[in-house]
Subunit: 346 residues, 2 copies
């Protein structure tokens, strides 16, 4: 979905990106679990989207009659996913890999191999896949530095809301001492529904019916998604070298309607916060004051940074979503383009 | 107060600013309405603060026995304020002017002359004075470009909350289509108190007693302060070329307890918002939904940017304050230092 949104964004804003930012990216390859399309002279975004929407895979791009194992240029048999190596081979001249396979927190594959292979081939990397970052942020950063490539991942935290960039750049010169955020929209939706009187079961069912819950429900309900974002923030913003096992992680499965009511009596609301302070990383349901700016409803994300001299600052915005994540990728591509033209990178 | 906070910040963070950012600023002159101190080899921050706190003016810096019209090096008679020209003369070798005289929206003096004189002498300028920007943003920007100097003003909007930087940089690649903010903490404090049941008179008295209201009450109550910030945002973020007379400005003097109650019945809260959309600039009391993230209490500031692809994003933080504004100046100094060392500026 993210890939399609990105293709749409690049297509619809082609003129303005070229005129305003000098950005005119050539997409030399696209891959999904149905196969791969590639063309070193550049793939057409509209045609890629059509192939995906009508045939279910980009592999049908150069194949006039369906997604089957034809021999159209760039088309591949849908029953054999291309490996990262094959893909990298096909596009060895590319400048940037955009990695958008699903996050997994067991071994982070196939994203991990895609990213490390690309870096070793001196490609800059944009990842919206949280898995590799959650499990190996410090070493991926080192690998990027060693190979002198840029590594960006704006879309991993906050979707379209540039939380990482804000903390790193807008607060430059400041010392952030702690932060706390509501980084998982699904659990926030469920807890908001419970605060409105729904039972935990009904709230979960409601979230499922709206398509908010990940296929692997544990990612949301046990706090893994929030923990991954917390790890990325702690590394990027606080300079900590941590990975998922460093997080004390408790999800929302244990939260009862009685907990919610008890909090309400004290003008508080139960929220699953991801917090970093005093070198400790915690994801857990916490009762926070109702008038705390962090207290957002529904699927919104929010994060409060406390800095030494500027007090506490909160950013609120939509979390993940195809268009939002695509716009985060675009920000990263603009950053990389600037880095390349500045001459600091090959 | 801002100058003192800045001196304190530079003093207390000297090591970390030098080690972390290579910033070791030399303050060659400081001026207040009691006079001026200057020393091309650098003034000592701690001593500047002592002079200000014990004698009431930095003019007492090099004067062992009080702030009177002695002949100590750099000391001046307190009854004759130095003109911008005199000051610029004394420090003609300086790289940067930090302009922090009070904002006025009639002729913006003395800030306007201080800034234009400095730019003509090829000095970079950091302004926390909103007056010159509110009345002449487009031409000041042109003057800066013509003289190839950097002009920064992070502290004019949002105090320590980097609103301008966020909108310009963190959202780069995005098209902001509209924004709406609560940019004046004083009126927000008064309206919050009224929402809690105070009469307009009592709320104003309460705000006065806490020192929240400017000496010229019209700046807060008639919305001039918010309008000035709106003009700065519209120029900087939206690329509009506008000044104060372009704002439809209504303050909070007409808001009654009945208005507040009527809004409350609809789960709304009356807030003085500064809004930009459809090429119109408006400052006015508006009833907004209670669960809108913009709905902050007390003296907090908040602003929501709506962009084409990332939805609506809200930033909340403390507004003005000595330390906060000083940290904004520091951010601008770091930016200018980077610009100078990059070689893009003389």
């Amino acid at each position: 979905m993210v890939g399609r949104s990105l293709a749409r964004l690049l297509e619809s804003r082609a003129d303005d990106l070229y005129i305003g930012y000098g950005l005119k990216p050539r997409i030399v390859a696209a891959s999904d679990n149905g196969g791969m399309a590639c063309d070193t002279t550049g793939l057409d975004c509209a045609r890629l989207i059509r192939a995906k929407e009508h045939k279910g895979t980009v592999a049908a791009y150069s194949d006039g009659h369906g997604g089957g194992g034809s021999n159209g240029r760039g088309g591949r048999a849908p029953d054999s996913s291309p490996t990262a190596a094959e893909m990298a081979e096909a596009v060895s001249g590319a400048d940037v890999l955009v990695e958008a396979t699903p996050s997994n927190y067991k071994d982070a594959e196939p994203g991990m191999s895609n990213i490390t292979d690309a870096m070793k081939r001196r490609m800059h990397v944009v990842s919206v896949n949280k898995g590799p970052l959650a499990l190996a942020f410090p070493s991926l950063n080192e690998l990027a530095a060693y190979n002198r490539v840029m590594f960006r991942f704006s879309g991993t935290v906050g979707g379209g809301t540039p939380i990482l960039d804000y903390a790193k750049n807008s607060l430059s010169g400041e010392r952030i001492t702690s932060f706390s955020g509501i980084l998982n929209g699904t659990t926030n939706y469920i807890l908001s529904a419970m605060a409105d009187g729904m039972s935990p079961k009904a709230a979960l069912q409601d979230a499922r019916s709206k398509g908010y819950v990940e296929a692997d429900e544990s990612l949301d309900l046990d706090g893994l998604d929030a923990a991954a974002k917390l790890v990325i923030l702690a590394n990027w913003v606080m300079g900590m070298k941590v990975t998922m096992p460093d997080v004390n992680c408790a999800g929302i499965r244990g939260v009862t309607s009685a907990d919610i009511k008890r909090a309400a009596k004290k003008s508080r609301v139960v929220k699953m916060t991801a917090a970093c302070g005093n070198d400790a990383l915690t994801v857990a349901p916490v009762a926070i004051p109702r008038d705390d700016p962090l207290c957002v409803n529904g699927t919104l994300n929010a994060i409060s940074f406390t800095s030494e001299h500027s007090g506490t600052q909160t950013i609120i915005g939509r979390g993940a979503g195809g268009t939002e994540t695509a716009s985060a990728i675009l920000r990263d591509l603009l950053y990389i383009r600037q880095g390349i033209t500045s001459g600091a990178y090959g």
